[in-house]
Subunit: 166 residues, 2 copies
């Protein structure tokens, strides 16, 4: 069974380090997502500094990043978006999902902590990294080796499928 | 995961049919994406009726869907979104990317034709399928066996990576 189906949100991690090679593969996966007009309007911040990781939680729902070995912040560049951010969010979401699936494929754990569209979360990350005005943080992804094994869930739901008509 | 890296946009397809089992797997991949608050705010329209496929192009940039064996329309349900659609677009984009990667994994071809946020494209799909007010079409994905082989491209770009600081 492939990584798309085995991916689960993982919020606690062991002390085992994550290699630079693994981080590179995750970024490579993110950058392999398709983008509107092939604009590739993204930037990625890789955080491995423990002191910064400690400061990254955006609120009580995003504490998992403190115990991670690393984190990736997926950002969009509004200057590369002809629709003022409306395309950035799509492209950055595709990149984020690729990173999460690639992590699952490696046995790494992560979870999608959305910054955008929550203004207070965006502000926290923007200030922590002194981001330029045109750079919007979309997602914060802690990366680490899962503390526990997660069970695969079958999420297919026939009630969500319509054939040839609504 | 290899399919993440080999996925390319494919706009022309052979006459070989796409099986119901393959379509099921694509939908299953879509529904395996993570969603904000686990809301799973999506609906999928599977189109295999040739007459409907003929009517699906939203403009001259989305004609590929006419020659496809099938199409999947990924929709969001704004009634399941506490942020009036701002979370729908993220969740539906993750589902869309999963479908495209799963298609690549099977050797199937597809391309991400965004409906949202283009008002005229949304209107076309909304009218064609008589969608309820709360259902927003996000993406139209033609599905078929690629007419030509596509080359794998390495899209890693070190200029997009920042370490521990902007």
């Amino acid at each position: 069974m492939n990584a798309i189906f085995k991916r689960r949100s993982v919020r606690s991690y062991t002390d085992r380090p994550v290699s630079g090679e693994d981080i590179h593969d995750l970024l490579h996966a993110g950058m392999s997502a398709p983008t509107a007009n092939n604009a590739r309007p993204w930037q990625f911040i890789v955080v491995t500094d423990k002191e910064i990781l400690e400061k990254m939680p955006m609120d009580n729902y995003t504490l998992g990043v403190k115990g991670a070995q690393a984190a990736i912040v997926v950002c969009g560049d509004t200057e590369k978006d002809v629709m003022k951010g409306a395309l950035n969010v799509i492209d950055c979401s595709a990149a984020t999902e690729n990173i999460l699936v690639e992590a699952a494929d490696k046995g790494l754990g992560s979870v999608w902590y959305a910054a955008y569209p929550m203004e207070d979360r965006i502000k926290h990350i923007r200030e922590l990294f002194s981001l330029p005005e045109n750079i919007v943080p979309y997602a914060v992804l802690p990366i680490g080796w899962p503390e526990k094994e997660t069970e695969v869930q079958d999420r297919f739901d026939a009630a969500m499928v319509h054939e040839n008509r609504w």
